[in-house]
């Protein structure tokens, strides 16, 4: 039989906990010390779960808390004002907020109009990407416009890559294209575990919009 080593403090749960936390801290400190590069990052929030756009808006709040200026372009969404729009429009000197589109595509049923709308949105996005005063740009639901080929992903990625230095960009929307995932620094898949919707609960202000 293999003998097992008995740690000195095995009989003391408090000491074991402290030792475990100490090892965890050492490991994490090591990783944090190794990550030294500072530059603008491209973040992508995709997947079929909740939290893609709201996470983007949380980062907007975070950036404003650090005194940064922020640009927002919402693609596709449009006809009803959301809570996030009402709130962030309170700060016109800090947030440049743009809503493009005339409702989700399945309300539109007119592809040519959707393409023209998406292109107008992209012009607005480019202006923000080229503005050195803007520290963070949120391109909300851009993935949807790309997935429907309303915009060309190569053109979009080239414009993002050519943005003003050190600016952060967040792209949201389900079904992110492989090219977008490849180009991104940080990608999260918001995976649906369950949704109140499935239990017959309505979309509610403050939660879904």
């Amino acid at each position: 039989m293999k003998p097992t080593a008995t740690p000195v403090a095995e009989s003391d749960p408090e000491a074991r906990h402290a030792a475990r936390m100490q090892r965890k801290k050492a490991l994490i400190d090591e990783k944090i010390d190794a990550a030294r590069m500072e530059r603008g990052v491209l973040l992508v929030n995709t997947g079929n779960g909740k939290g893609k756009s709201s996470s983007g808006f949380g980062m907007v709040a975070r950036a404003l808390g650090h005194g940064m200026k922020v640009g927002v372009v919402q693609f596709i969404k449009g006809h009803t004002e959301t809570g996030e729009e009402a709130f962030f429009r309170r700060f016109p000197d800090e947030v440049s907020f743009h809503v493009m589109g005339e409702g989700f595509t399945w309300d539109t049923q007119d592809k040519a109009r959707d393409i023209a709308t998406a292109e107008a949105g992209w012009q607005q996005a480019r202006a923000l990407l080229n503005d050195p005063a803007i520290g963070l740009v949120l391109l909300d639901e851009l993935n949807i416009a790309l997935k429907h080929h309303y915009l060309d992903v190569h053109k979009v990625l080239a414009d993002i890559a050519a943005r003003t230095p050190r600016q952060h960009v967040i792209v949201t929307g389900r079904s992110a294209l492989p090219e977008m995932i490849e180009a991104a620094d940080t990608v999260t898949d918001m995976t649906l575990i369950k949704h109140a919707f499935q239990a017959g609960i309505k979309a509610q202000p403050g939660v879904e919009f």
Copy 2:
């Protein structure tokens, strides 16, 4: 051989697109019509990817945009002020913001102190959960405190269940306990696909804190 039906407009891609969008719209409208219940929901953001807390803070912004009052308790985190704290503290009449704890547990290495801190945080959370003026409560990183058994999950869930009617609650943090997932209406697993960290990029203001 099986004959295949030829749709009337198969030769016209625009018409096919419109028909597809029409069907999609009908399906979604049906589901939305079926979901009629309005009540306070419990949302859980868990997983090892980015966006759990930021999504919670995005919902805070959303709720404020609808004129709701919001309560926030951040568990465990503590010693450095984050962007979200600096930003939402600007609105003391709308946001009741509390930070509990003295840094992540792996900085603390003192379980008894962590438990006392978590309990003090929970008293603050209970006050918000019982306040009918508060429409949304964000319990940021609560899952971590539960996972380390700093708080009892059954007690916490009983207090959440007994909250003021129609209030929404968001719980964030990796490693949500099965009891928390079971009790929740909406659960998202923020799944890490990749993180800038892995490419040696530092945590940066506006993005990670």
